[in-house]
Assembly symmetry: C2
Homo-oligomer: 116 residues x 2
DNA sequence: TCTGTTGTTCGAATGTATTCGAACAATAGA
DNA sequence: TCTATTGTTCGAATACATTCGAACAACAGA
């Protein structure tokens, strides 16, 4: 099993975190993990194929937002809540709260922005 | 003078705001405006030419992060603090606080990530 | 009206993101 | 060992971002 790189707490950069969270699908992913706890990739309902989901999970992992561990053939994803709160106090909470009240929580499942 | 479009408060989207703030130069810009109040483009020290600055200001304006008004030949930029706080309570403050304590505040002036 | 200042827009060059399907790898379980 | 499950990596297609310089537009002030 190949080792998955996770940045150390001090190596987590604000710009990278904001960028990682700026994609609606990734934000949905993080909100789901935050609310419902750790999850395997396959157990999260997203409107993309698995290779795309894997790509987004990688972006989130490399930015320091999520932790990924192997369990059999599965990859268990979880939010690095403690690390993020230590590095950027209040940030995660305010972003996810903003997400909940924003009304954009179903955005990724809509057809409004489909290709013409 | 051409009118500059600003999204209404309700039209401000979290993903767009996070994306706008995920660029180190734009984040520096917003932090400066937030700390020191409104500013003309030319009065902000940034390591890019004016056309690039104009592009970033546009990105911030269209995402709803800043307000731009004309004053003579100048464009006065300011953070839409009230609108952002109303739409996403605590978000702006936690992002800018995170920025201040992150140690990345001089990132955009460094040569570490110059082209090889 | 002429000139300098301040920004915007355009075009081009370069780089990066997003998405998919196909091929691959690792593991669990029969 | 064989097979099905789960996810990663690769290659290709497409789209978008970033940056610069040049040309342009709007305005202030002489």
């Amino acid at each position: 099993m190949k080792i998955l790189h996770h940045p150390d707490r001090e190596e987590i950069h604000l710009s990278s975190v904001l960028y990682a969270l700026s994609d609606p699908l990734r934000l949905h992913l993080v909100a789901t993990l935050y609310k419902e706890g750790e999850r395997a990739c396959g157990d999260i309902e997203v409107p993309v194929v698995k290779s795309t989901l894997s790509h987004h999970a990688r972006t989130l992992r490399e930015s320091g937002v999520i932790y990924v561990r192997a369990q059999g053939t599965q990859r268990i994803l979880s939010v690095r809540t403690e690390d993020l709160n230590a590095r950027f106090p209040g940030l995660l909470e305010s972003v996810l709260h903003a997400y909940e009240i924003s009304g954009d929580t179903s955005e990724i499942f809509s057809c409004a922005d489909m290709k013409k």
